[in-house]
Symmetry: C2
Subunit: 144 residues, 2 copies
């Protein structure tokens, strides 16, 4: 399934780049893939540390960056100074609804919006490589 596919993609990335497969990378990858999406580095480190006290913060940072480079994860910034990573299969994309009340994050995709973005870019002579769309507000629970 998807999970093993990502592990395979990362394995290939490691091999292609001449990097090494290590105990720490395996542990972090397993933990990352079985965690909820959109975890901040700090949060992931804290939770991982409870089970694997030996792993350093620097290693977690480095390894998450590698996940992003390999294409199995994506780095996201919501403007709160925390870097978050979400696991993601290559080519997949979605945008975020962020609740400013409780911090909940919902994902969505909207083909029409993406098409309109392309139109906007065209009219300015730009070629888009990536985009970021975030909607901030209150979720159903918090708006009460």
């Amino acid at each position: 399934m998807k999970r093993d596919m990502k592990k395979e993609v990362f394995r290939e990335f490691i091999a292609r780049e001449g990097l090494k497969s290590t105990r720490q990378r395996d542990i972090i990858l397993d933990f990352f893939l079985s965690s909820k999406r959109h975890m901040s580095v700090e949060e992931l480190y804290r939770k991982l540390r409870a089970r694997h006290p030996g792993i350093g913060y620097a290693t977690v940072c480095r390894t998450l960056k590698l996940f992003a480079q390999s294409g199995i994860a994506h780095e996201i910034h919501f403007g709160d100074g925390q870097t978050r990573y979400e696991h993601l299969v290559e080519g997949e994309h979605h945008d975020h609804l962020v609740c400013t009340g409780c911090g909940a994050i919902a994902e969505f995709e909207n083909k029409t919006i993406e098409d309109l973005q392309k139109d906007v870019a065209d009219s300015h002579g730009f070629i888009i490589h990536s985009h970021k769309l975030e909607l901030y507000g209150l979720c159903a629970k918090c708006r009460k």
Copy 2:
């Protein structure tokens, strides 16, 4: 016109909050309003400093934050670790096209996209307070 209106809005903000009108705030406001949009704090500080050597970095940071609070400016983050401010009249809104080649920034507005965003939010039970849409790619010059 717009420029004086913003100065007036800020003046009212200062009064309402029980803050004081100072020489530094006046200088920074004038400089900010007559500068190009999307300046980073560092860039603004550097240019301001050339004309007014006495003003400290901390004061510039603090004052720009006040501009944002008063509603005459908006804080933006493009993910490069630099905070930028743009001057803006209350209620105005636009999104950005960012050239990853030369750093050029173009602005756009698209009512249809905004409407679709609202639809998305509705379908998730969210109420949107703000949003961020950034398109990253190459501008006409850099794509050659």
